[in-house]
């Protein structure tokens, strides 16, 4: 009987936890939709131009990506140290490739 109560408590705690998790994920989704709309609106309406717009679009994409990795793919949770290391390593290679090809072709 006591055993059952403890497991019920643990169960309730776990349910609350995954509810909170879901709330965070829904907020992430809202933010991603908002960033997408902002990005398309910026290009569609021509309010900002030139390299500032390019940088802004990149920032919006980057923030969206981090929402996806950290919340949707749980990279912020414990037990994801290896996963984070691998993905940040991938970011570093991406940066080098962009830098290398960018310098070769556009400088």
């Amino acid at each position: 009987m006591t055993n059952n109560t403890t497991s019920n408590k643990a169960e309730a705690y776990r349910k609350q936890e995954s509810k909170d998790e879901m709330k965070k994920q829904l907020i992430s989704f809202g933010m991603m939709i908002a960033f997408t709309i902002i990005a398309f609106a910026l290009v569609g309406t021509d309010v900002i131009q030139g390299s500032f717009l390019t940088i802004l679009l990149f920032v919006l994409a980057f923030v969206q990506m981090m929402f996806q990795f950290l919340y949707f793919m749980h990279m912020k949770d414990k037990g994801h140290a290896e996963a984070s290391g691998i993905i940040y390593g991938g970011f570093w290679v991406t940066f080098l490739v962009m830098l290398g090809l960018g310098v070769i072709s556009w400088w």
Binding site: S7, E11, R14, K15, S18, E21, M22, Q25, L26, F29, M32, I33, T36, A39, F40, L42, V43, G44, Q49, L53, T54, L57, F58, L60, A61, Q64, M65, Q68, F69, F72, M73, G79, E82, A83, I86, I87, G89, G90, F91, V93, T94, V97, M98, G100, L101, G102, I104, S105, W106
Partner: protein
């Protein structure tokens, strides 16, 4: 034996996909794969950025791209990412039917995305004569966007096989890991798309 993997409904594991050693390895292995995918797409993006203005007198980025279809495709893929989050939520609550339902919706949204992409490519080829062989820009465009579309096709096939194979089996700690790795892969496809709509379409319409 299959009963070794069964989940005790009175004592649910926090994450059924990472209970067994095999499940943990699958999780780590998928992240390693995604690290490799990052590098693959980095080189394709780099190539596209280097070649996007080499149009050889053919159609340019501004001639081709339209915002409406790309926006629709973005919404489809982003929503399918959320529905797979729902599926994993139900997986953790040991609700197999709801999980299958949400993964089914994910698949339909992915299919919608794919249909839009096929329409887009057909439109470029028939109305603009813009093909893989038109120019360096054409090759780079179809390689990058086509590789992403190929990932969507692969993901959909993977999902269908998973859902059919396990339809009568129910959820256990053996196949939970399989569903979970698929969901991670699907989120990654969406991450790549975020950069495609930013770098290819939005920046292509600006410059």
């Amino acid at each position: 034996m299959s009963h070794d993997y069964s989940i005790d409904p009175n004592n649910l594991p926090e994450d059924p996909s990472r209970v067994t050693a095999e499940g943990k390895m699958k999780h780590l292995g998928l992240w390693m794969f995604l690290g490799g995918e990052t590098v693959l797409f980095a080189s394709l993006f780099g190539t596209y950025i280097a070649l996007k203005d080499s149009t050889a007198g053919g159609p340019t980025t501004q001639d081709l791209y339209g915002l409406e279809l790309v926006f629709l495709m973005t919404l489809l893929l982003l929503t399918s990412s959320l529905t797979s989050v729902y599926a994993i939520y139900h997986m953790k609550n040991n609700n197999f039917k709801q999980m299958q339902l949400w993964f089914g919706i994910t698949g339909l949204l992915g299919l919608g995305f794919l249909a839009c992409e096929i329409y887009e490519f057909a439109h470029y080829i028939t109305d603009y004569g813009f093909t893989f062989r038109s120019s360096a820009f054409g090759s780079a465009f179809y390689t990058l966007v086509g590789f992403h579309g190929g990932h969507v096709i692969f993901g959909l096939s993977w999902l269908i096989v998973l859902m059919v194979r396990n339809a009568k089996r129910g959820l256990d700690t053996y196949n939970a890991a399989k569903y979970n790795t698929f969901a991670l892969y699907w989120h990654f496809i969406d991450v790549v798309w975020v950069f495609i709509f930013t770098v290819v379409y939005l920046m292509g319409m600006v410059s």
